[in-house]
């Protein structure tokens, strides 16, 4: 392999804070507006995601505060409905997805031995579409303060017609935000696919491709397959709202359930879009801190592909109570259960990678283990939810809310944090504050369970989701959940501080950073040079 020492070290400016060393490039804000460098863009994606994570988090803390006690204390139901929907849209489209894309930007060229992403200008556009989209999503809140319109979209993130046909202009803002976010995702996906297919180092066959890249490859294909369906669905919604079409209006020959089919044809793969990059990075982290090679590489690749394929044929389990015909109920139940098999392969491989290793428990490893255990609970409750008869009781209840937060907070967000703690030293050249990292981990895990575990029981006892006020028998669990949510939210400030501190300085990170690392990215210096691999390494 080509050693890093042969590379240009004069301007190691890939990190988010470092000054640019190449004289011909613009400085200041123009540098960030015009950059085509994969590391700059990756950093912008990650910082944007972190900011939006706090925006979405603040929204839901307001919701949890309202739900602390029965009765309406802080807000009216209309505003409550806006907060829950925009919280979800922000967390999914503006926090988790950009974070994963930030990882892809930073890591894929480093991992496959490329100088940059294949389509740098598209890369720049992919990012710079995000801030306007996020603004569109949240602008109606601000307009409402000035008496324009009645606030943001109040239909929940699912935008179900006819409620969304009835809604105010917040719905239109959300539709256009989704269009722009969708374009951004598709541009990012094309770039990732082209990069992986064309810029791999000589000798890196597809079956030597790092698992993180494999996870992202499947995600990119899922995005390209399903985002256009969502775009179509919301466009139909737009024409139903303003141009008199009747796609979702039974009185005009349409069908409200058609919207749900289209939405979830995107919406279910979306879950895997959010999780596949995380599943891809987990084996790297576990293998590093177990000091042992990844177990079942091929099995994991095939599982990613199987989950990707199964993911697009199970969508209707999101509305099993809508009155589907019996054969459809049975099909969607059994096909959903089938997902447990490739998912079990992944769990098996993660644990088998740890088995008989020489483990140590630095912050990234703690987050990885926390991820495995809590995501395991999401998987198991998901298996239960697939059962049509039991689903009749769980559906639309807090049981589902708890389930998907185990999947998307413990699975998605904690997965992303695993990656940040793991790769941040490589990106910045500084080690992360381990003490604070571990404090952040323990606070997050405990308060996460304090927040969401009671919600399982609330759901079983019969509390519907998306209600601004609740009957008295739900009081205690809601109070506990709110306390947990505030600890959880405040703990994330530690995370922001740790990241900031690591960007500013800290112990020098070596090229390999952690003891057990394997892979091309660790051959480069920390931080890597501006054009990551100027000479392609050769894989034997």
């Amino acid at each position: 392999m080509n050693k890093a020492s042969s590379l240009d070290h004069a301007a190691p400016s890939g990190d988010a804070t470092g000054q640019h060393g190449y004289g011909s490039h613009p400085a200041g804000i123009l540098r960030w507006l015009t950059t085509t460098n994969h590391k700059d863009i990756g950093s912008m994606y990650l910082i944007f995601a972190l900011i939006m994570f706090f925006v979405g988090g603040a929204m839901i803390l307001a919701v949890r505060a309202e739900l602390f006690q029965p009765g309406l204390q802080l807000m009216q139901p209309e505003f409550f409905n806006q907060l829950i929907g925009v919280h979800a849209l922000v967390m999914i489209f503006a926090a988790l997805m950009p974070a994963a894309t930030g990882f892809a930007n930073w890591q894929i060229p480093l991992m496959i031995g490329a100088p940059d992403m294949a389509l740098p200008r598209i890369n720049n556009w992919g990012f710079w579409l995000l801030p306007p989209a996020a603004m569109l999503l949240t602008l109606p809140f601000i307009l409402a303060i000035f008496g324009i319109g009645d606030g943001a979209v109040a239909t929940g993130w699912t935008l179900y017609a006819p409620l969304s046909v009835q809604g105010g202009m917040g719905v239109d803002f959300a539709i256009f935000a989704i269009h722009i976010l969708g374009i951004s995702s598709i541009l990012g996906s094309i770039n990732i696919i082209v990069t992986i297919f064309n810029l791999r180092a000589p000798g890196m066959t597809m079956m030597k491709l790092p698992l993180f890249c494999w996870g992202w490859l499947i995600t990119a294909f899922l995005l390209i397959a399903t985002i256009p369906v969502l775009a179509g669905a919301v466009t139909m919604l737009l024409t139903d709202r303003h141009f008199g079409t009747n796609f979702f209006n039974a009185a005009g020959g349409g069908d409200p359930i058609l919207f749900q089919h289209l939405f979830w044809f995107f919406g279910h793969p979306e879950v895997y879009i959010l999780l596949l990059p995380v599943w891809g990075l987990m084996p790297h982290v576990i293998s590093t801190f177990s000091r042992k090679p990844v177990y079942g590489y091929k099995a994991q690749v095939y599982s990613f592909i199987a989950i990707g394929v199964l993911g697009v044929v199970v969508w209707a389990h999101h509305f099993l109570t809508a009155g589907l015909p019996v054969p459809a109920l049975l099909y969607f139940m059994y096909s959903t259960m089938a997902i447990s098999l490739p998912l079990a392969v992944l769990f098996f491989c993660w644990i088998a990678t740890m088995w008989r290793g020489a483990m140590s428990f630095e912050t990234p490893m703690l987050f990885a283990i926390g991820f495995i255990v809590l995501f395991g609970m999401a998987g198991l409750t998901g298996l239960v939810l697939a059962d049509v008869a039991a689903d009749a009781q769980y559906h639309h209840s807090y049981f589902v809310v708890a389930h998907f937060h185990y999947a998307l907070f413990a699975g998605g967000i904690m997965g992303v944090m695993t990656g940040v703690y793991y790769w941040l030293p490589k990106w910045t050249g500084h080690m992360v504050d381990e003490k604070l990292g571990k404090l952040h981990f323990w606070l997050t895990v405990v308060s996460f369970n304090l927040t969401f575990m009671p919600q399982f029981f609330l759901g079983l006892a019969g509390m519907p989701r998306r209600i601004p006020d609740y009957a008295l028998q739900f009081t205690e669990f809601n109070a506990i959940s709110t306390v947990g949510a505030f600890i959880l939210g405040l703990s994330q400030l530690i995370f922001a501080y740790v990241v900031w501190k690591c960007m500013r300085g800290g112990g020098k990170a070596s090229d390999r950073v952690w003891e057990g690392t394997t892979g091309l990215e660790w051959d480069l210096p920390s931080p890597p040079p501006h054009h990551s691999w100027e000479t392609q390494p050769v894989i034997k």
Binding site: L72, P77, Y160, P256, L329, F361, L380, P468
Partner: protein, 401 residues
């Protein structure tokens, strides 16, 4: 061993403090850890499936993570454990070890829970076999309408919890948010086929103790069934986000022995006959306004507000409204399009304003229209008779269909 445990120690300080703070609440709380007591065959079956499921996934969870935790304690660098190098199963024995979990999982998915799930689905969806009666449920923003096609009984069920309780101005009653003015009454021991639809957006009819949850979809009929085994009052809620008062449209079912149920049906029938007679009689303006105030507070105040100011732009005000203060009828006594009466009868498409001719009686409509024209500073002075509403209904038949 020492290093990885240190963070636990640090956590040991805030955690007990937190528990101590929560303890008074925790100790007095009446927790519910599982489904409420089932009262239908489906609910008993669902609870059984759920309990079985919880045992299975707990066993899976504990087994898998026991192996992982064992490994975390045994195979750690600080104990000097040397890492192995294997990257996959080698040899027959290891392959067997790798495949056994998947065989077990396939068995669980498709045999252990898959087969009972099949039968449960067939049972749940069999709404027609030996059904004794039909109940039609119509969801609308934000109340339920119940209709008994066999006897023609039809009524609206509104939440009975006062707005003052919700705004914390009054003490909350024992059935806070789960109380209605007219509960739906069903006989015990009878298979009731329930047809569900909606007039505006999607709602979901849910009573946890029946384990029945079905979406109410505008323009389509969906169905489910219940056979309640024990008399009693069962409470549930709308479960699909349906707009601002989604949290305030409870479902309350009163299950009675058959004889009492039949007596109730008879009573309801005579109430409806009395209401119909009301539309024959000539009312005075003051009588109409007095009756209209009642209707307004139940049907209109949710959106247009008790003071008639509405919540613009979604819910326009009644006070000073151009529509309300416009002409009542055309000089020939015909309905004017987009007039006050037209709005009240036919609603406005694409908004939460529904066609109240489907839910209110002639008397109620005449009363509330008269009330709105003569309150909140609106001083039209005119009024409309229930008999006139009846005529408008008939001449507008085509639209009603």
């Amino acid at each position: 061993m020492k290093t990885p445990h240190r963070p636990c120690l640090r956590l040991a300080i805030p955690l007990p403090a937190l528990l101590a703070a929560l303890l008074p609440a925790l100790a007095h709380a009446d927790y519910s850890w599982n489904f409420p007591t089932p009262v239908t065959p489906i609910a008993r079956n669902t609870l059984h499936i759920h309990n079985e499921f919880m045992i299975i996934i707990t066993v899976l969870f504990v087994t898998v993570f026991a192996i992982m935790i064992y490994s975390m304690f045994k195979h750690r660098k600080s104990l000097g454990h040397q890492p192995a190098k294997f990257t996959g199963p080698t040899g027959t024995v290891q392959w067997l070890w790798a495949l056994v979990p998947f065989a077990i999982l396939i068995f669980i998915d498709y045999i252990l829970v898959g087969i009972p799930a099949y039968h449960a689905v067939i049972q749940m969806e069999d709404t027609k076999t030996k059904a004794d009666m039909v109940l039609k449920v119509t969801g609308m923003q934000w109340k339920w309408q119940y209709e008994y096609p066999d006897s023609g009984v039809k009524f609206i069920s509104n939440m009975a919890t006062s707005r003052e309780q919700i705004a914390n101005k009054e003490a909350k009653g024992p059935h806070y948010l789960l109380d209605v003015d007219n509960p739906v009454v069903l006989p015990v021991g009878k298979k009731v086929r329930i047809l569900i639809t909606s007039t505006d957006v999607i709602h979901t009819w849910w009573v946890p103790q029946f384990a029945v949850k079905r979406d109410a979809i505008p323009g389509f009929l969906r169905e489910t069934w219940v056979n309640i085994e024990t008399p009693g009052i069962y409470r549930g809620q709308c479960a699909e986000l349906c707009g601002k008062d989604h949290g305030f449209m409870p479902v309350v079912v009163q299950a009675l022995p058959e004889a009492e149920y039949l007596a109730w049906i008879d009573r309801k029938k005579s109430e409806m006959a009395a209401a119909a007679a009301g539309s024959e009689k000539t009312w005075s303006k003051d009588e109409l306004i007095a009756a209209g105030k009642d209707v307004y507070e139940k049907q209109c105040a949710v959106c247009h507000q008790p003071n008639g100011q509405g919540m613009p732009p979604a819910f326009p005000p009644i006070a000073g409204s151009k529509i309300v203060t416009g002409p009542l009828l055309s000089p020939e006594g015909k309905l004017i399009k987009d007039s006050h009466v037209d709005r009240a009868l036919n609603g406005k498409e694409g908004t939460a304003m529904q066609a109240f001719k489907n839910t209110l009686s002639d008397t109620e409509l005449a009363a509330v229209i008269t009330y709105q024209r003569n309150s909140f500073g609106n001083a039209k002075g005119d009024f409309i008779q229930p008999a006139m509403i009846k005529i408008l209904r008939q001449t507008e038949k085509k639209e009603i269909l």
